[in-house]
């Protein structure tokens, strides 16, 4: 059947407009809108002494200037702590415009509205803000030392102390045959979508209603936040995510100050107002992620089996905690990966620094957790002189152990219970795919060419599709068109295609008839958002359930007309027919017409449904009790807990000892996200994730100086990979469907990025024989490390050199 498209590499339906320049991104909207621009703090930590706008007032085209003094009611209060948590004992958030103090470079201080962006920036240049500088805290170590405080009333700089344990770790460690401890670091990177954030607001004074377009991952929640902050009734606010030029997490945070201030100005001025973030603003005014210091102690036996794991992490949360401690919790709970850890204790101290806030970036704490766990495996193997793959294999959760309960509490407040998986299967495929057992031959070959070659691997398990819920609405029109909507948003994941495939398959209609809308509160008001690899799992299943509801109703109505039992009917190519009786059929669009008894005939289709058109049963109401007009259904999917996807990556690197350039010559991925809706889209997600993983391991770093100035706030200096930096990727698949949801799917959006840092650190360490304990690593840093007398040689390198170190 042509309509069964689930699982097929269907070409994307969104592409036609995007390849012809007809996409509609935020800055493509509102041609006549006024433009907003911001004066942002040039200091990392300072008190605002005065704001002088006199010089700016006579710039032609200036419309309005706003400072904190102009904010009233809820707008004058701090921004919300979106995800409170009992262990987040000292949450702090900023104000929409700074209230007397700034805590990072880039914090908005003044908003200017003018006739165009050029003029608005002219005005910004002429506004003089006088600051009294305060001591600056940069980096986890400085925050932890607490010589200075980011927030005066929190002298230890600690926002949260997140703690989970599955047993009494200390006695088990003490009794372990072997133990080792080490400390490692991982640096800051950022989502860096190619399109920055942006907001457009239009106030209809006659209707007292507000329409906001924003480049967001959570339109329903932005809507609620705007209504609350601007004292508007929810029904008077519509929020729409237009085409969004990438998100990767940064656009799940909300309300950004600009998402409140731009609508505020639009209402006050009675004019359309727009703000499109520029690249420098995105670097210093959005969010970063990843920086942690990890102190790890592991107990294990002579075979390399872990007996206990004790982890203490210092996590840099930046200046504020609007997104709670989601990233630390994810690191803490996903760290254990595919392994059975008998006793585990984790403490994450989340600390304030005078830097941009830290909120989820694709992977959201998982790359750090994976880095901690996988590098622990490497250390154990190194100590024991065992194959790194073997040590991993010995610690894996086995296929017959599902559901596997880690006795931890996940970011959604639900238990970390793995639903399904086959981790030994992943490892076998990975070793084959990368040629793991060939490594020593490859190493000698490379050596003959004067190169240092190393291999590394990393495995992960990823909780995807957390609740609480998503919804879907499916409606068949009299024209035969099938309208589908869900509240969560899209940033390039191909939802218009994947969700259409689901509906086409469930309902039995041609995909050409299906039209999907996401992220538009006019169409669907209840939603959570697009993050945590949850869209396919959550909205995919909700939409499937909604389509099943429509199907059931269609069969019921058609059964009446065709004088058959619903169970004997099927829908194919948009035609409801009696199974095995070709010709006994009724088009689904006619069923849609019949489902809505009419008084007025406004077109040909409607004529067939008017009250005189068809003989009704005089004893029954036109709409049966408990029924509703229209061939439509709305349903929700709300899982008991997340579903857990998994995967394994391996990398081969070649290093040139003349330049210390690190060349990733092979990158292998084995991936398991359960049932796949569209394999082409899933592979695309893996490619993109791996590119970000490689970028995070080798190139990307937010370079703050001691004064809290971001030294590389441009694409010139912050090195995102171009085509020349991303290796070719070999992919193999495994499918262990999730038993938790009707479609058996698991999320795929973030997976590709998770193990990159761990796998590449492992490969580089293998190549150079020096301990790699700080990532990312550049050729210069590698050169310095290898030359440094303090750098630690691995036991493996000692063994290879025959020096007998730890051999």
């Amino acid at each position: 059947m042509t309509t069964k498209l689930f699982g097929e590499p269907v070409r994307r339906r969104e592409d036609q407009r995007l390849i012809t320049g007809k996409g509609r991104y935020l800055d493509d909207i509102g041609h006549t809108a006024l433009a907003a621009a911001f004066v942002r703090s040039p200091h990392a930590h300072a008190r605002i002494v005065s704001i002088d706008v006199d010089e700016a007032l006579d710039v032609e085209g200036l419309v309005a200037i706003y400072t904190y003094e102009d904010l009233t009611g809820p707008m004058a209060e701090p921004l919300p702590v979106l995800i409170p948590h009992p262990q987040l004992h000292s949450p702090r958030t900023g104000f929409p415009l700074a209230n007397g103090e700034v805590n990072h470079v880039g914090e908005p201080v003044v908003m200017v509205v003018a006739t165009d962006r050029y003029v608005a920036e002219d005005v910004c240049d002429r506004i003089v803000v006088t600051y009294e500088e305060l001591p600056v805290v940069v980096g986890v170590d400085a925050a932890r030392a607490a010589q200075h405080a980011v927030h005066e009333e929190i002298p230890d700089n600690i926002a949260a102390r997140h703690h989970q344990e599955t047993g009494d770790v200390e006695p088990v460690l003490a009794a372990s045959p072997r133990a080792l401890s080490f400390t490692q670091y991982i640096e800051r990177s950022a989502c860096m979508p190619m399109e920055g954030k942006g907001v457009h607001a239009k106030w209809d004074a006659d209707d007292s209603s507000l329409r906001v377009y924003t480049s967001t991952q959570a339109s329903t929640s932005v809507r609620a936040a705007i209504a609350a902050k601007l004292d508007l009734s929810l029904d008077k606010v519509e929020v729409i995510a237009p085409d969004v030029g990438g998100g990767f997490g940064v656009k799940i945070v909300h309300p950004w100050p600009e998402e409140l201030l731009v609508p505020m100005a639009a209402i006050a001025l009675g004019r359309e107002v727009k703000w499109a973030e520029d690249r420098r603003e995105h670097f210093i005014g959005s969010a970063h992620e990843r920086q942690q210091r990890q102190e790890i102690t592991v107990g294990y036996d002579d075979d390399g089996r872990i007996t206990a794991l004790d982890v203490h992490i210092w996590h840099d949360n930046g200046a504020y905690t609007p997104y709670g401690i989601i990233v630390p919790i994810v690191t803490a709970t996903q760290l254990v990966g595919p392994y059975a850890i008998p006793v585990y204790r984790v403490i994450v101290e989340s600390v304030f620094t005078n830097t941009v806030i830290v909120t989820p970036y694709r992977g959201a704490g998982r790359p750090q957790g994976c880095y901690a766990m996988e590098r622990t495996m490497d250390r154990i193997a190194d100590e024991l002189g065992l194959d790194r793959a073997l040590v991993r294999e010995r610690n894996l959760i086995q296929p017959d152990q599902f559901p596997y309960d880690h006795h931890l509490t996940f970011q959604d407040g639900r238990p970390v219970i793995y639903d399904s998986g086959d981790y030994p299967g992943l490892l076998v495929k990975l070793k084959d795919l990368v040629g793991w057992d060939e490594a020593s031959r490859l190493r000698s070959d490379a050596e003959a060419r004067g190169k240092l070659l190393g291999v590394g691997m990393a495995l992960y398990v990823e909780g995807t599709g957390p609740g609480p819920y998503e919804g879907g609405h499916v409606q068949v029109l009299g024209s035969g068109k099938v309208l589908v909507s869900t509240g969560l948003t899209s940033q390039g994941q191909g939802h218009e295609t994947a969700f259409a495939q689901i509906v086409a398959s469930e309902l039995g209609v041609p995909i050409e008839d299906v039209e999907v809308t996401t992220g538009d509160t006019r169409r669907f008001g209840y939603a959570v958002g697009t993050f945590a690899s949850r869209a396919a799992v959550m909205s995919g299943n909700a939409i499937a359930l909604a389509a099943r509801g429509v199907r059931e109703k269609a069969l019921r109505i058609a059964a009446d007309v065709l004088e058959a039992e619903p169970a004997d009917l099927e829908i194919d190519e948009g035609l409801v027919q009696v199974k095995g009786v070709p010709g006994t059929s009724i088009p689904l669009r006619t069923v849609a017409v019949l489902s809505n008894p009419l008084r007025y005939a406004f077109d040909e289709a409607a004529r067939q449904a008017t009250q005189f058109a068809k003989p009704g049963d005089d004893d029954k109401p036109p709409i049966a009790e408990g029924d509703a007009p229209g061939l439509e259904h709305r349903d929700y999917y709300s899982p008991i807990r997340s579903t857990f996807a998994s995967g394994a990556h391996a990398a081969i690197v070649e290093i040139d000892p003349a330049t210390w350039e690190i060349d990733v010559v092979k990158y292998a991925v084995v991936h398991d996200c359960g049932n796949v809706v569209n394999p082409m889209i899933v592979e695309g997600q893996v490619h993109g994730g791996v590119a970000q993983g490689v970028g995070g391991a080798l190139y990307e770093r937010m370079a703050y100086d001691a004064d809290g100035q971001l030294q590389n706030a441009s694409f010139m200096d912050f090195l995102m990979p171009y085509a020349s930096e991303v290796p070719d990727i070999d992919i193999d698949h495994q499918q262990t469907p999730s038993p938790l949801n009707p479609l058996g799917i698991k999320g795929a959006g973030e997976a590709g990025v998770i193990p990159g840092t761990a796998a590449l650190a492992s490969a580089i360490e293998d190549a150079v024989g020096r301990r790699i304990a700080s990532m990312p690593i550049s050729p210069t840093e590698l050169y310095d490390l290898v030359r440094s007398p303090d750098s630690e040689m691995t036991a493996t390198a000692g063994r290879r050199a025959g020096t007998g170190v730890m051999a």
Binding site: R11, R12, E14, D15, Q16, L18, I19, T20, G21, K22, G23, R24, Y25, D27, D28, H31, D58, V59, E60, G61, D116, Y118, D122, C191, M192, P193, M194, E195, D243, V244, G245, G246, F248, D278, R279, Q491, G492, Q493, G494, M680, I681, E683, G684, H687, G688, G689, V690, A691, Q692, S714, F715, M716, M720, Y722, A723, S724, V726, D728, I729, G752
Partner: protein, 172 residues
């Protein structure tokens, strides 16, 4: 108070259509295309010449429209993503081979970088002799100056080969 801008009226052929616009002298070409001429298919990812999202073709050569002033294209021919496809005899649209290839090879996700890649590749492929084999190095060179945060480039490179093959077939 006077504006610090002075304005110029420029005439420029955009996608084959002569257009006139009065723009401040400091207006970037990217802004003029997007906001004065309403051609929002050209995107702005960095405004400092590094990402290539704003790439358009000026007098046959791909340029970064965020690094050019609008007044610099006075008298020039500019081609943007909106001008890549051509009309067929029935008034329908025939996509450029590189547009077809991008869809076929899943070479775009969010689509924000896409117009810049399309213009760079179209100019690159049109400038070479399609009869010759396209090497992997050539492809990497061609797309190596544009940033994409979504796709990891594998499918973009694939699409270049795909488009080159289609153009070769069309020539043959």
């Amino acid at each position: 108070m006077t504006s610090i801008d002075t304005e110029r009226t420029i005439t420029v052929t955009v996608n084959g259509v002569p257009r006139e616009a009065t723009v401040p002298v400091r207006r970037l070409l990217s802004d003029a295309l997007r906001h004065d001429l309403g051609l929002t298919g050209t995107h702005v990812g960095c405004e400092h010449g590094v990402c290539g999202a704003c790439t358009v073709v000026v007098d046959g050569a791909p340029v970064r429209s965020c690094l050019m002033l609008a007044v610099q294209v006075d008298g020039a021919e500019v081609r943007t993503v909106e001008g890549l496809a051509r009309e067929d005899h029935q008034g329908g649209q025939v996509l450029h081979p590189v547009q077809e290839a991008f869809r076929e090879c899943h070479a775009l996700q969010c689509g924000f970088c896409t117009p810049g890649f399309l213009m760079t590749i179209a100019a690159g492929l049109e400038a070479r002799d399609n009869a010759e084999e396209l090497t992997e190095d050539e492809v990497e060179d061609m797309v190596g100056g544009n940033l994409c945060r979504c796709t990891g480039y594998a499918n973009i490179k694939k699409a270049v080969h795909h488009a080159a093959a289609a153009m070769k077939d069309a020539d043959a």
